[in-house]
Every structure is written in C-alpha cells, then in structure tokens.
Symmetry: C2
Subunit: 179 residues, 2 copies
C-alpha cells in the first residue's frame, strides 16, 4: 500500500484551492491512491457548524481538519484540505502532528494577487468585504500569513489550471509520494 | 484490501464501551485490519469542544463522529465509535449514510442495568447525577434509547470482558467482515 499524506492547500478565497483540488484528486485516484477532499465548505457544514470567523474559531476549524486529515493519512489515504487556513502557526502545528504520526505533509500555497481576486470576484464576496459588509474577510479585513517554505507554490493569476496541476503532481513525484 | 466498516458501540456511561473497544481493536489489528477508535472523550476534545449535552448538541456530536467514521470506513479502515449516542434516530441516520457509501455498519449495544452502573460508579458520576449535581446525564436525567435491532448485544453485568469481545468478533466473522 502507498504511504498516506496530506495535501494542504492554503490561500485566499477564490485563489483556486477547490478548483485545483478536484483535478489533482482525480489524477491521484487514477494512480491508485485513495483520496478524500476536505473542502472548506464541506468541513464548515459537517464538522464546524456554529464556528465564527474569529481567529480563535478559525484555528479550531483548522485543527479539526488537521485531526481528520491525520486519521486518514496515517491509514494510507491522501487527505486533501482546501480551506483558506490563514494562520501559519496552526498550519505548522497540523504539519507536525501529521508527520509525527508517520504520514507526509505537503503544503501548496495557491497564490493570487488581491487585485486580481477582487476583479474576478466570482462569488461577489470581495466587493462586499471591501465595502465593509462582510467582516473578518481574509486578505481584506483579516490577515493572511503566506507559508514561508511551502512544498509547492502555484499562481493562479499566471498559470492555467492544468499547469498548476502538473506542477503539484510533479512535486509529489519528486517527493516520492506517488504510486 | 478488506472492506471497511464502522463498529458502533452504544450504551450508558460506564457500561463498558471504551473498555471493550480496546481489545476488539487489538484483535482486529492482529488480523491485519486498519483500525481507528473514536472514543467519546477524544471526539469531544478534537471535534466537538464547546458543544453541550443538550439533545441538539448531542446529535451534532454524533453526526460528526458519523461523518468521520464514514470517511474512514469507505477507505477500508475499521472505525470504532465508543460514544454514548443515546438517540436512535441519529444512530440510524449514521448507519444509513455509511451503508449508502458502501461500507458496513455494525451496532453493538453494550447493556448494563442502571443499578449496577450506579453501584460500580467508577468515575463517581452516577452519584452526582442522582444527586442532581450533573444535568442531562444519560440514563438518569436524560433519555437513552436502546437499539431495536443491533447486530450484537453484550451485557457487562453478566459477561466478562473476554466473553463480550469473543461475541463481537464471532459476529463480525459471521457477517463476513473479518480478514
């Protein structure tokens, strides 16, 4: 059986975390891996209903995703997290927990400049956040701490989805995680 | 690879759910299964901190355990839940979700008469609950709905731990879940 690992996407809302997670998951399944995607919305519904977007509650949310990712990864499953996860310290705490339990942790920083996101604004959230109608909005009225040494960096303002997917898969191969 | 399933213990506090889950997990591991125990306390710490013991919050807690058990079971892992899970409807909802996703669900009713539990009272909780010092205490001041058709019934007031473990393992074998 293949070694389990957690593929941890982090980045601003709309940067492309979920968009990238789907084709990456398909590619990994086609290689014979077992894969589960823990999307931000899925998790908010099933594990974290009632939590706010305060720093404390965001940290709890991320720790829960980390707890579940660890349960999956240490049993040989690829857990893909696609939540914003704005705080570096909690991401590093999750990395430590998972690698201590013998699975892998691969952090993918999905970068996209704020002005590009505000212009795309697929869900209309940036407009509202900039107008002050949504509070605690990461990147606008709430901090985002970019990773210092992520295993992969992709930039959705410059790369096509396919290019970013290929980059992630190539890096996983390089790190020895692929079947 | 073996088929994943969820082994769902239900019963009053102190009846023996956690006590039985440990040797059962060891036995399953010795047969080559991957096993994760989702003990009531582990889950309260890692997934459900802040939830109360109201019916609504208990249901949320059980749904979260069910969600995680499903993620594990559908990837071939044996998920063992050892939370009180007092309400029949939510247990059945979890059963449905897990079997719909193609994994197995085996409900183990850990029975023990209330007077025996109150006499044992290992953690001193029954005394406090009967005195009214703990509210919403299942079996004393909060309901417990026993399963109607559990796959296994054990009675910790009459059976030794080994006997109950053997009974559970024999039933799993009969149901075709064992390697």
């Amino acid at each position: 059986m293949s070694k389990g690992f957690t593929l941890w996407f982090t980045g601003l809302s709309g940067a492309g975390k979920s968009t990238l997670s789907l084709p990456v998951a398909e590619k990994l399944k086609s290689l014979g891996h077992k894969v589960e995607i823990l999307d931000g919305d899925i998790v908010r519904t099933n594990l974290s209903k009632g939590l706010t977007f305060s720093k404390e509650d965001r940290d709890i949310n991320i720790r829960r995703i980390g707890f579940v990712s660890n349960l999956l990864s240490r049993n040989g499953v690829v857990a893909i997290s696609a939540a914003i996860s704005p705080y570096r310290e909690v991401r590093d705490e999750v990395r430590k927990m998972i690698t201590n339990d013998g699975a892998g942790f691969v952090e993918v920083f999905v970068h996209c400049p704020l002005d590009v996101l505000a212009e795309r604004d697929v869900k209309g959230l940036y407009k509202k956040a900039i107008a002050g109608e949504i509070k605690n909005f990461t990147g606008v009225s709430d901090p985002y701490e970019a990773p210092v040494n992520p295993e992969v960096v992709v930039d959705s303002s410059k790369e096509k989805v396919d290019e970013s997917v290929d980059k992630i898969i190539a890096r996983l191969k390089e790190l020895g995680y692929l079947n």
